[in-house]
């Protein structure tokens, strides 16, 4: 027991919402801004509970933080591309929530960029479908938006 305690004296224990404990090195933990501020504020030997992060998301975040320490710039790029490719759309959304909550800055740059590429220049209907969002505008609100969008050549008044 004593041995175990000394072995883990540097690592930080994180408890996910589905009850799994992860032990991570300070280097990894410090790249999650939310955790970092808690370590500073409290005794790091305590277990930090993360009510909004499940084990799958935390394991992906750790996988990213470990993987992106590759040696060369091109190796990191390759790793990042593969990392994003391996995620389903559903996973991508869930992971973004976890990443936003834990404030993993590098993923907060990479992931929105990837999503932005996917939705660039896409129609309103595509966006709703892509994100599972239901149109909640009333007809009069929609008419108002159409009026506002006078820059589309279809809707431009001649005078």
């Amino acid at each position: 027991m004593a041995e175990k305690a000394s072995e883990s004296s540097n690592s930080i224990s994180l408890n996910t919402v589905d009850g799994k404990i992860f032990k991570v090195s300070p280097t990894i933990a410090n790249q999650m801004q939310t955790i970092q501020s808690l370590i500073k504020a409290y005794d790091s030997s305590r277990v930090i509970s993360l009510p909004h992060v499940n084990a799958f998301h935390l394991s992906k975040i750790i996988e990213y933080l470990e993987g992106k320490s590759a040696t060369t710039v091109s190796a990191v790029k390759e790793f990042e591309a593969q990392f994003m490719k391996d995620l389903s759309l559903k996973q991508l959304k869930g992971l973004l929530i976890a990443v936003g909550y834990l404030k993993v800055n590098e993923l907060l740059e990479l992931m929105p960029k990837t999503v932005a590429k996917l939705i660039e220049n896409k129609s309103v209907e595509f966006l709703r479908k892509f994100f599972g969002i239901v149109n909640d505008f009333t007809p009069s609100e929609e008419a108002k938006i159409r009026e506002e969008i006078a820059w589309a050549f279809d809707g431009v008044d001649e005078d």
């Binding site: 909550y101 969002i133 505008f137």
Partner: protein, 336 residues
């Protein structure tokens, strides 16, 4: 852009004794990985493997700031044309003035295939910034009137990029420069502007640290012109970064820049075919400039505007175009 994710009082700390119990109760399943080991807690009776998240989420669960970041990366045109029409929440976000501190009107429309009045759209975007515009990019549209509208809308403009803005005149730029005292970064890539505009900018924008003044690089016709380089050397002593792609300057121009801009950290004169770096000038550039790109340096990382004149571009640089951009797009599409 800094993230402003809101965090409520969501994190609960547990005592060490709790965690030791939890760890020891399932120690047999602990992984040997040093940096991240994992075990199932005693409290979770169903031990589901880590594979897929259980809950289906729609996009509106995302923190507002993350959604904003995504929309900002998609760009102003997409926000106005599409994103704001998706749902009430996105519509209200699109009216948040902080969404318009940066207006990025880059687009992939072919010149003759413009579906929108980009200038009208841009004015609308500027109106939504409520005087807080900091950073604007115009791409293949814009006029003196629009530039004046930009400058009159804000006292905070620090960065401006004018990409293939053919309709902006030397006189227009000279007038507008007077209204941009805080400008730190300016990119004029492919334009009708020349030394008079640069002089005015140099005089009116004392904080200018980064200048890109790029042209289409032609070997022919042969002519020398150091006017722009002299204007820079004479009026922009605080410059840290300078890119003069495809300029017609000569060695005299390079010297004027080195003498006039003592703080220069990077200088990019790729495709400036009139510069012949002899021994002494080459040595001086290498010694004084941390990041120096000579006229013959590779151009694969140069962001050129493909719409400006593709034929002449390919004629000059048939081998210099990176295909990584295309690969990226294919990768991303694989996600769908």
């Amino acid at each position: 852009m800094p993230m402003r994710t809101q965090i409520g009082p969501l994190i609960v700390l547990k005592h060490e004794t709790d965690s030791i119990q939890m760890l020891s109760s399932s120690s047999s399943s602990m992984s040997n990985s040093s940096s991240s080991s994992m075990s199932n807690s005693s409290s979770s009776s169903t031990q589901s493997p880590i594979s897929e998240e259980p809950v289906t989420r729609n996009w509106l669960d995302l923190p507002r700031d993350v959604t904003s970041t995504i929309l900002l990366k998609v760009g102003s045109i997409d926000i106005l044309n599409n994103a704001q029409r998706v749902c009430l929440q996105w519509r209200s976000m699109s009216y948040d003035p902080t969404m318009w501190h940066t207006i990025d009107m880059r687009n992939s429309y072919a010149p003759n295939d413009m579906e929108f009045d980009l200038e009208m759209m841009c004015r609308h975007a500027i109106d939504r910034s409520y005087g807080n515009l900091v950073d604007i990019t115009l791409d293949y549209f814009g006029s003196d009137d629009l530039l004046t509208y930009v400058a009159d809308s804000t006292n905070h403009l620090r960065r401006m990029r004018l990409l293939s803005c053919w309709d902006i005149s030397e006189e227009g730029m000279i007038e507008v420069a007077k209204k941009l005292p805080l400008l730190e970064e300016l990119d004029i890539t492919i334009s009708n502007l020349s030394k008079d505009a640069l002089e005015a900018i140099g005089h009116c924008c004392p904080l200018l640290k980064s200048l890109k003044f790029n042209m289409q690089a032609f070997r022919d016709p042969h002519f020398d012109f150091d006017g722009e380089a002299f204007a820079i050397g004479q009026t922009m002593p605080n410059l840290r970064h300078l890119q003069l792609y495809g300029n017609k300057l000569t060695n005299d121009g390079v010297l004027a820049i080195l003498d006039g801009c003592p703080h220069l950290e990077s200088l990019d004169i790729r495709r400036c075919f009139n510069v012949n770096l002899g021994r002494s000038l080459g040595k001086r550039c290498a010694e004084e400039i941390k990041d120096f790109r000579n006229p013959d340096a590779p151009i694969d990382d140069y962001e050129f505007d493909h719409k400006s004149d593709p034929e002449s571009f390919f004629y000059d640089y048939s081998s210099g175009i990176s295909d990584t951009v295309l690969c990226d797009v294919e990768d991303y599409l694989g996600l769908l």
